[in-house]
Symmetry: C2
Subunit: 244 residues, 2 copies
């Protein structure tokens, strides 16, 4: 048996998320179909981050085992020839047999993109959250600092996701603007279900003047869910990188 | 009767070009449908540039006449509420009754985008021509200069497009690279059918070392079609701006 690691990029618009579902087309299904064609056997893949429907990736990491050995460059080329055009293999190679993309991940980088122009950019309609109103960037940047470090992010997770602990560390959270585009960049050791989108929703409320730094502090210390903002839509979210 | 001018942006991926066709969905049809809903009467629009299937626009200009008066800001808002998400009105307003978007256009800017990275950028798959091989940017930039000025571009038009003259003036043609993306920017008083895509195809051949500056000079002077390169695919092309 050989173990492989793939770094993949995908446009999540046409998929019901990464993970296999009975009645919906997912990235996992498309990937496993291509691998079956290539290896001639049923292959099950695991991903570092189980992105939701409409969420994108530039650096998703996938691992799988197969009975035959294929060199990395050939694997990459072959898969890119078979896969649908909205999934691309960026890197491929054999790794140690113990490697598991999800369990071994030590950190992740996500970006969230907001289109804040006077009219929606048609070319970003599937890759950004369009918000026509004025956002105070400085307020958002100041508030972002309070999310950094180790906190109990219970108020910022979506209900009904069973986890052992809701404590996570965000090592960096930046908010930057270039023309009409605002990009929030999250780096951390792990993220709860919908946590990035909830923090984004909260920071947008701060930018509108509808939430304060005190609201965030309270939400983090007392796990007050009502202090958090709404969940930002999936399309603005992108898994950029996974650290090992 | 009131005459209106719209500046529109669209993702051409889902359309069979701008102009109305009997059996295919076009930008014109989508626009006229929205205008009929808004004005309650059949409205015929004209566009400055008749973009082909798959070609995009950031600054297409459209004119039409209607029997009722609607203020520009309301027209823009109302249309953006009705139009499909891949067409957006950037600007709208009433203009002099003599205005015709196509006849009055004095110049246009088109860009052509090439994705020249080690693997295709999934987020640009509909907006760029992916070329994996090495392109010599300096050679392309030097060759681009020879297209500038007034020339007979007969060798660079697609066959079967009846025009009075094939002489056009390209006032500026630049080639720039930022990371993996190469953008060619064309500014001129008018362009023949598929001319931008043919010049792009030729400059790509120059970048590969398969065409020389002499080939271009000959093509421009002697209208030698075989010296020109292939027609670059529609998806990399975007109508950026129309001058009046």
């Amino acid at each position: 048996m050989a173990t492989y690691k793939l770094i993949i990029s995908y446009d999540g618009t046409g998929y019901h998320g990464f993970q296999y579902q009975e009645n919906a087309y997912t990235v996992q299904e498309a990937l496993e179909k291509a691998l079956k064609k290539l290896y001639g056997e049923a292959i099950r893949v695991g991903a570092a981050g189980r992105t939701d429907a409409g969420v994108h990736a530039r650096g998703q990491v996938v691992s799988f085992r197969a009975s035959s050995q294929v060199p990395g460059t050939r694997l990459k080329q072959a898969l890119n020839g078979i896969l649908p055009k909205d999934i691309v293999v960026v890197e491929a190679g054999e790794v140690a047999g113990t490697f598991l993309s999800r369990r071994d991940a030590r950190g992740k980088v996500y970006t969230y993109t907001i289109d804040n122009g006077p009219y929606p950019d048609v070319f970003r309609r599937n890759y950004a959250w369009y918000l026509p109103y004025r956002l105070d960037l400085e307020k958002m940047q100041k508030a972002a600092v309070y999310f950094q470090g180790e906190h109990d992010f219970k108020a910022f997770q979506a209900a009904g996701s069973p986890v052992k602990t809701t404590v996570r560390t965000i090592s960096s959270l930046t908010v930057n603007r270039a023309n009409n585009i605002i990009v929030l960049c999250f780096e951390g050791n792990g993220f709860l279900y919908k946590m990035v989108r909830r923090i984004t929703g909260t920071l947008v409320k701060v930018g509108q003047g509808k939430r304060t730094i005190e609201d965030i502090q309270e939400a983090l210390i007392c796990a007050k869910r009502r202090n958090a903002g709404p969940t930002a839509p999936a399309r603005g979210l992108c898994l950029e990188k996974v650290f090992y």
